[in-house]
Symmetry: C2
């Protein structure tokens, strides 16, 4: 294994590549692998092949899509044996520092940790306006950790789909803790919640909820609130916030999991109380496995994948029909010049291609 | 007109209904209108009928969908004669107060102002954890203003689609300034940017960018930065922030519109410099209409609608096929029990129904 990781160093984001690099650029020269090589490599926990399999998932190339699906089908039976933890919080709350400390602790306990990011805007955003920070420096060189930046893509659906499939491959590769990080406030929380067992909301003391952009809906999704940056002068404020949030959460309806959402404080910077977060997650696992919610939740997530995959395949089939591209080329100028409404154009195009398909099936 | 508005009072969100009320509950007793009654009513600027037409758009009922599409087709030729302004900023930045002051000013100038909100999480989020605030109290009773809360819906795509169509109806009804408000940080900015002429980012002085959750990608989308809450002790900080952001923006690439993004300060609370914001938007309009960007941008937005409508129709057609529901009912337990993977199940179901459709077409 060690050797694998060493030989794979040049592929490790955060070391010699900016996180936003397109992995295809790095891999173009490689020879293609067979389906069996991919699957066996992933199941062996081969870091390089896992990376390449995920790149296959993230590829927009239709042939790659087929291969990716075959890989997933064969890895699925070997997936599921992990704790899937979603972590969110507004930019500045210290997600990276927390995951760095948390992930390092877990690897020290002997866990294999995969960190996947979900940030639909990652292509545009390249970090805050204050400039990029190198993220998770020590975890990214930790042989028991696998860090993968957010897949590129401009639709949340696409990014979420790829992340969901990456989870399957990481689990098949033997990672037993999967951390899915989402960037701050917005839609991506719902997506992450739909793919994890435990959803953790990182907060800051002091900053008002409004300013933190924490919305009730997101708090309602959380299985735990962790107030980070409980260090230095901030510590008293952190404990104050803890009791405030505990009070606030009492007003919330009981969760489906019948789990009482805890509010803890920690300092990723000073490595304070990080272990308590893990203990709490284990308590949650025991609790929800005992009352059946854990499995029920995962089953519902499969249904979720089913519907997402229907959407994805419908669009994929449509745009890959031989006639589609030419027809769209013909329609675009008419739409731009308002000769036809975009609604009419879309409806007609779909009817027209359906007919062609109908004939094709005879 | 006046009478219309008066008689429509009970329909006005923010007065006697919580913003999140389901309009169908209010309207159920009404008699159905004909397509012509809808279109003529909207074109007359009848507030009640405009509301009902938008409710039609927002309805999930397939019959309503057909009617909605017919209404939109007939209103489209009468749409487009407005300035479409997107407004974003994290929760707490004062969007509602700003829109209240800004919208009131515009109505005083004789404009008819429509305010549409786009918040995919609105169903869950019911405002901040600190509880709901009544929003835009004076604008909501202003006869020259039309305020519509975010359509319900759990996918951003669905919410965006409905908002886009509501813009068309509002324009056909004679509203010449359309304000689309988006909630804070996240995906919805991209959606709003894709449906407006001018995208305005509200900021706060003092709070760090990180904490404000403002990401570079969103700043890059903005056609103007407005630092709100420049009042009281905050005023010096606001002007300080203004020069900081001006400096920061210098580092940004030139916008497609060849427009230099201004940074202004204002206080919605004290009604300070709100008029300057409007002047700035008019300058932008003149600038982009002169260099052709304004029209080019709107044409591209039509293409955007076209592709969104393809997605929507494909799913709609699929789920409304007679066999679909029964087949899905049959598959769900198999997926839950892991007898079949959600990917296989989806792929097979689509192939199977395509065949049936093919036969149907003979």
């Amino acid at each position: 294994m060690e050797n694998n990781y060493k030989s794979a160093l040049e592929e490790r984001p955060g070391i010699d590549q900016p996180v936003s690099v397109n992995p295809n650029l790095v891999r173009r020269k490689r020879r293609e692998l067979s389906l069996d090589e991919y699957v066996q490599g992933v199941l062996k926990g081969d870091w390089v092949i896992l990376s390449r399999a995920i790149t296959m998932i993230e590829s927009a190339n239709p042939e790659h899509l087929q291969m990716a699906q075959a890989i997933i089908e064969q890895c699925l039976p070997h997936s599921g044996n992990s704790l899937r933890i979603g972590i969110t919080g507004v930019p500045g709350v210290g997600k990276s520092t927390f995951i760095e400390a948390f992930g390092t602790l877990l690897t020290q306990m002997g866990h294999k940790v995969a960190v996947l990011a979900i940030d639909p805007s990652s292509e545009r955003t390249k970090g805050s306006i204050l400039g990029d920070k190198t993220r998770m420096e020590s975890l990214s060189v930790n042989p028991k950790a696998f860090i993968r930046p957010s897949p590129s893509g401009n639709t949340l659906g696409g990014v979420a789909r790829k992340t969901r499939e990456s989870i399957i491959l990481c689990e098949a590769a033997g990672y037993d803790v999967i951390i899915v990080e989402t960037v701050g406030v917005g839609q991506s929380e719902t997506a992450v919640k739909s793919m994890v067992d435990f959803f953790l909301l990182l907060m800051l003391a002091g900053a008002g909820d409004e300013l933190q952009g924490i919305k009730r809906g997101i708090m309602e999704m959380a299985d735990a609130l962790i107030i980070n940056k409980a260090d230095g002068d901030n510590k008293p404020k952190a404990f104050q916030a803890q009791s405030q949030y505990r009070a606030a959460l009492k007003l919330f309806p009981q969760t489906d999991s019948q789990w009482t959402v805890p509010v803890e404080v920690c300092s990723a910077l000073e490595n304070f109380a990080i272990d308590k977060v893990w203990d709490m997650i284990l308590r949650y696992e025991a609790h929800t496995k005992a009352n059946g919610y854990f499995e029920r939740n995962r089953s519902e997530q499969l249904i979720n994948i089913f519907h997402n995959w229907i959407q994805f395949t419908l669009q994929n089939n449509f745009y890959n029909q031989p006639q589609t591209e030419a027809e769209i080329e013909r329609l675009l100028p008419l739409i731009r010049d308002k000769k036809i409404s975009p609604y009419m154009a879309a409806t007609n195009l779909i009817e027209q291609l359906d007919k062609v398909k109908g004939i094709g099936d005879r």
